[in-house]
Amino acid sequence: MKLRDFILRRIILAVPVVFGVLTITWFLSYVVGNPVAMFITERTSPAAIPGIIREHGFDQPLVIQYFLYLRSLLIGDWGTSYSTGGDRPVLEIIARKFPATIELAIVAMIFAVVLGIPLGILSATRKDKPADHVTRVFSLAGVSMPIFWFALMLKYVFFYQFSVWGLPYLPNGDRIDNELWKAVLNNGVGYDYTTSITGFVLVDSLLYGQPFLFWNAVLHLIMPGFCLGYLTLAIVTRMMRSSMLEVMKEDYITLARSKGLTERIVVYRHALRNALIPTVTVIGLAFGGLMTGAVLTETIFNWPGLGRWATGAILASDMAAINGFVLLVALVFVSANLIVDLAYGTLDPRIRFG
């Protein structure tokens, strides 16, 4: 089977990439600071420091420490995060927080793709007409607006002003209304990792058979999802516009017109598929970016995701957490690239795997 071979080959090729990433980050994390500092507070007695050094293996040569790190990774031990309270294993924290980030990133992606591609087509087919100008301003705003400012403006309008005007307003933050969750499901904890089944609040609310909670979760996702997705939306729109304009000049479009096809079919059947190829690349790379770029959005919307946790870890120079996060991001990028390559194959027969 050709496709299986292709995927296998790509996975094997991804191994050195991931290995390189984790090697570089591991060594870098030693370059930027003293790892012992993290375990020392104002109250640590100087006499205790050698004990801390020995306990965490910091007295070993760097190379030995590196191989110990690799060995523990291989047996599924990503180390322990000391900065985030409770000294939990990194892998466990990732398992708890990753779904929230993924969910947000997927919603952001849906905004970017579902709005970006049609807007790009509209902009290209109405080049230099009012619709094009509006779309271009919209996408220019998306790439130039600082995300924290935009998030605050969204909150100001759709949460604060709407509630002042007595309109139905969007929630201020959080993944779901916890009081509502407690009331509906009659448990005291609210929504967290102990009460979630899959970690995805949209899926969980449906698994509990509560469409009302589902709707509440959707409302909570709109603002942070759009806020996070706006930059990608802007890039996808611009990319789609330019590749569509490029494709519309191709000879095969003239041929399609010479067949007597309506402009609609020429655009949506003959041009779209060709124009999607460069856009798909951007979408794939952007998805990786969404996973990591969610820091500001997660902070402003009080979203318990990985971005916030990773920022905290960096500020506390929590080595295991940083390395774990970077490794995860590398894996996400590699998988996103694989998916992009597979999408190429379906879109363009010239790049089919053989």
């Binding site: 000879d251 095969y252 041929l255 010479s258 067949k259 007597g260 003959h270 363009d348 027969p349 010239r350």
Partner: protein, 386 residues
Amino acid sequence: MSSSEDLVLSVKGLTTNFYTYEGIVKALDSVELSLRRGDTMGIVGETGCGKSVTAKCILRLIEPPGRIDGGQILFSDRDPKTGETNEIDILQLAPEEMLTIRGNKIAIVFQDPATYPNPVFRIGAQIAEVVSLHQDLGREVLEIRIRELEDSVKNSSSAEHQAKVREQIEHYVSMLENPPKPDKKYARKAAWAKAVDMLRLVRMPSPEQVANQYPHELSGGMRQRALIAMALACNPSILICDEATTALDVTVQAQVLNLLNELKKDIGASIMIITHDLGVVAETCNWVMVMYAGTTVESTSTKELFEHPVHPYTIGLITAIPKLHENKERLDQIQGTVPNLINPPTGCRFHPRCAFATEICSRERPSLEEVRPGHYVACHNPQGNV
């Protein structure tokens, strides 16, 4: 060309301009052209003389900044059943009406087979697309269903079942004259079958397989055949070949020209061959029109043109053809260069390069006159035997 002749296409005073930033490019200036039913006509001229623009105007495929600013393109559409002809001016048609002409009544084969087929669709699908767009396929679908039922009769052992199926076949046969609208699934099948038939018609080796292939899997010559198949799929009245053989190497070019010559009899279309190669004209066309800088300069039968060229430009073109038995240091050429069409020469557009130009040539535009029977030329000082 008197009106009594059976013209399938008659272009009168066609004027097309391109409104660019550098200025208005007067690409076509009162082009006159007539194509008789069943003829193969060649349009020759240098690069940039407006041959392809003329072809695109006929299909109204001129894109902004280009605009057709005047003239008539009269297309005489003959109903194959009743034989009645109906003359329409293509330039007066609404855009939706134009869609029923393109690819259906007038089809075009473009120059470069590397860039014209859509790279992401199968060859068969691209041909089937134009078939299902313009053809009703009701009859073809019935025929497919009858064939399927006949197969099932052959494979069935139960006499009762056979009788039932036969009855169904009769029913379908009775509908053949007045077929109902086909359902989508069968229409797609029939369109695909037609696509394979068209590939067979253009002598494509193993057409079933090629229909399932993508353009990049075929050679240039095969791709050009596929594009010809696409153009012929709806039995057009006019087939325009816009430099259809220019991008091919000489042997493949010869194959494609032979194919066109052979197909001429089968398809009953009038053909317009746009080329800058007088050799191609001599091999395939019975009528030639010579264009220069967006104007028609000479129009006559191929034999007449090569034997008695009258316009100084045509004479120059024919003298420029290298001859095998001559041994020359330098090939003959027409002095000067092609004029810039933003500021074309006044009067006759050829006069700055013409050895026979007189004072009137720069002042007055010559009109197309019949200088010998069936020989039209736009020149104040026609040369040769007139």
